[in-house]
């Protein structure tokens, strides 16, 4: 009877395709919107992601998220180093500085100053050059997107030329030479990212009393990271969070203080509702159309269980196909995001979320039909 159910479903092409389109639309909208949302949220902590080495990030107690820089005194680094359980601690500068391009345009850049000796926190994926090259005088490493985009050289004929090793930049009126190009996660503000050493960053940065943005800490083997963070916090009075906590903190800030989640939430909800409406309506219609067949089947001895299975199979097929095509279409945006500023990230959880949504849609649609079929009196078959 399962095959009969499938043939009944597939045979009614317009409704079959209609339902699949409905499910597809839902799963597409839900997956795609959520993926973009996840992508944007991921970008907020892209920098933390790019620096997987440190276990604990130490910062000013009032810092709310990664771009919220409240500098510390240099000696805090030493104090953190003195905390029990710290294997090593390195300074990190992070700040927005103005770069002057060859055509005179100013561009705000995210400048990252890495510990001079160890270069901890540097980009892991170098496209050109080596991280060690940062030790060369005035050396900076530029992210590839920035190098191709906002920091690209504008030639006299108006075309853009990717920034390359050996090119110079002006950072706060100081000369910087590109010694490497790195591929890094996009940041939320999508500014070009420039890596340099901590002491050079001190020169680039405007003169301020405090310039140390973060202290990156690695725990000694066997030391619980959360305990270490708590120790640092109690001993230095600074805020110390694990990398995961810092990501969470950053995301929560954006969730709380920006309209992004509401906008995307509405998109996802709309996708869900519209999908439910379309699929529910068509499926119900489909069942109504087939009601007299179901009646005949019932009269011919098909049990309610058989009919239930038939409807469930139909719902599952519609759900699976619509879901597959929907998430497939949504995942195409991954390729778009590779080549553009589009934020896109599709973790496995999202596939599960949209699968759940599709399941709910199909269950809702099926429940209406099943009720109808269960209440159906087989006697209707004798009515002309």
């Amino acid at each position: 009877m399962i095959r009969i159910a499938l043939k009944m479903l597939v045979g009614d092409r317009p409704k079959y395709i209609g339902m699949i389109l409905g499910v597809m639309f839902s799963s597409f909208v839900i997956t795609q919107q959520s993926s973009i949302f996840t992508g944007i949220m991921t970008r907020t902590f892209g920098f933390i992601n790019d620096s997987p080495l440190p276990d604990v990030w130490v910062m000013d107690p009032k810092v709310q998220y990664i771009d919220d820089i409240k500098p510390l005194q240099d000696t805090q680094l030493l104090r953190v180093r003195g905390v029990d359980g710290v294997e090593w601690a390195t300074p990190l500068y992070k700040g927005l500085l103005k770069a002057r391009l060859s055509n005179g345009v100013f561009q705000n850049c995210n400048v990252i100053g890495l510990d001079d000796a160890s270069l901890v926190g540097g980009p892991g994926n170098m496209i050109k050059g080596k991280l060690e090259d940062l030790r060369r005088a005035d050396g900076v490493i530029v992210d590839i997107v920035g190098a191709q985009g906002r920091l690209a050289k504008i030639l006299p004929d108006g075309s853009r030329q990717t920034l390359d090793i050996g090119d110079t930049l002006e950072l706060n009126d100081r000369r910087a030479i590109v010694v490497g190009i790195a591929s890094i996660s996009r940041t939320f503000q999508s500014q070009p990212v420039i890596y340099t050493t901590y002491s050079r960053a001190m020169n680039f940065a405007p003169r301020e009393r405090k310039l140390l943005s973060f202290v990156l800490v690695k725990a000694k083997p066997g030391v619980a990271i959360s305990d270490l963070a708590r120790n640092i916090q109690s001993q230095t009075g600074l805020k110390a969070v694990t990398a995961e906590e810092f990501k969470h903190m950053t995301v929560m800030y954006f969730l709380k203080y920006t309209g992004i989640p509401i906008n995307f939430g509405i998109g996802v909800l709309l996708g869900f509702l519209v999908g439910t409406a379309i699929v529910g309506q068509i499926f119900h219609n489909f069942t109504l159309d087939n009601l007299r067949y179901f009646g005949a089947l019932k009269a011919m001895g098909a049990s309610n269980g058989t009919l239930l299975r038939m409807i469930i199979v139909q719902a599952i097929v519609v759900g699976l196909i619509g879901y597959g095509i929907g998430v497939g279409a949504a995942s195409m945006f991954y390729h778009v995001s590779k080549k553009s500023e589009l934020a896109f990230r599709m973790p496995a959880e999202l596939l599960i979320v949209s699968a759940t949504a599709v399941t709910v849609i199909c269950v809702i649609a099926a429940i209406f039909s099943i009720r109808k079929v269960f209440k159906l009196e087989p006697a209707i078959v004798f009515k002309s």
Binding site: L77, R81, V83, W88, P123, G324, I325, V327, M332, Y334
Partner: protein, 355 residues
């Protein structure tokens, strides 16, 4: 058939693509391995500090007493010198001339003194003696004449006038003989003592002046005050060397057999420090290069931290306690002025501030 399986096939394809994207998107980020491991504390509980390497003598900024244009630099950085070795010299031609002038004056004074000391002149004595003999002869003649005339004893034969003339002649000859004798005696007595003293004093003054000029000349050459190593040479021939304390010392000299590390400890951590605690210093860039440090002393005066920004107008609100440690410089390839990461052992129980 194709139509029948087209949609499920598409769906399968779509789902597989989505799964691929999920995997592609969840690739773990490549961690950049640190170029060099950041330094690590060898103690279970430690106070961390930034240490600057200096020579055990502390770094001596060599100055010059005489301002002037540098004429010669005798050392290069890294050269070992012993006490008294010339380091560099200031143009000294003026001083040289002065020395020569003063030397000449000294010679004159000494000559004058020697002349006085050499009196009487031997050649003068025979003259004087001859003059004495002449006077004595004249005296004897006058004596004789007078006696003869007196023996005449006839007042008519001898006029009184003649006789008195003879008498006076005798007296004159006597005086002349005495004068000649006295003259001889004076001559024989040599220079007057007071004259000699004056001349001696003059000679001494001239000598002192000459000495002073020589010292001044000598001061144009700056010499090593201790045995040590030349750490920095910032003076070149032809430059003008100033006196006084300079921001950029002309030459930095230090004793480098044992080096000192001056460790800055945040004042907030100062209470945790036990004087005499063992410590370890790591070379930046290669923490495998590390050495045990020997405690020297604590500088009891807490000083403002030297800031990296170098802005003179900035307000400093961090103060650091400085502790001196020493180590054997032959064990580590470190140089004076280099920064090291220092970990000082602390008592484990002391990590929580007691409120």
């Amino acid at each position: 058939m194709i139509r029948k399986y087209l949609l499920p096939f598409l769906a399968l394809l779509g789902f597989l693509h989505a799964v691929r994207v999920v995997f592609a998107g969840s690739q773990p980020v490549v961690a950049s391995q640190p170029i060099a491991n950041p330094s690590q504390s060898p103690y279970p509980s430690a106070i961390a500090g930034a240490g600057i390497v200096e020579s055990s003598s502390e770094n001596i900024s060599i100055g010059t007493m005489i301002p002037g244009v540098v004429a010669a630099v005798n050392v290069v950085a890294g050269q070992r010198v012993t006490k008294g070795d010339a380091l560099f010299s200031i143009d000294s031609r003026e001083a040289q001339a002065e020395v020569e002038a003063k030397q000449a004056a000294l010679s004159a004074a000494e000559a004058r003194l020697a002349k006085l000391r050499a009196m009487p002149r031997a050649e003068d004595i025979p003259v004087s003696e001859a003059r004495v003999r002449e006077a004595e002869a004249n005296l004897a003649d006058a004596q004789h004449q007078y006696e003869r005339w007196q023996q005449v004893a006839d007042a008519r034969a001898v006029s009184a006038d003649e006789l008195s003339r003879k008498k006076y002649a005798l007296q004159m000859a006597t005086a002349k003989a005495e004068a000649a004798k006295a003259e001889l005696a004076l001559l024989k007595a040599g220079a007057w003592k007071q004259d000699l003293l004056v001349a001696e004093a003059d000679a001494a003054t001239a000598k002192a002046a000459a000495e002073a000029a020589r010292v001044t000349l000598d001061r144009h050459t700056v010499r090593a005050p201790i045995d040590g190593e030349v750490l920095q040479v910032k003076v070149r021939v032809g430059e003008f060397a100033q006196t006084g304390t300079l921001i950029q010392p002309l030459i930095v000299l230090g004793k480098v057999d044992t080096m000192h590390v001056r460790v800055d400890i945040d004042e907030n951590d100062a209470w945790r420090l036990t004087p005499g605690s063992p410590a370890v210093a790591n070379v930046r860039g290669n923490p495998k290069l590390s050495t045990e440090l020997t405690y020297v002393r604590i500088e009891p005066l807490v000083v403002p931290k030297r800031s990296l920004t170098g802005d003179s107008t900035e307000r400093v609100d961090t103060r650091v306690l400085q502790i001196l440690y020493s180590f054997d410089s032959s064990k580590l390839p470190v140089y004076t002025g280099q920064l090291m990461d220092v970990f000082i052992k602390a008592n484990p129980g002391q990590t929580e501030p007691k409120n």
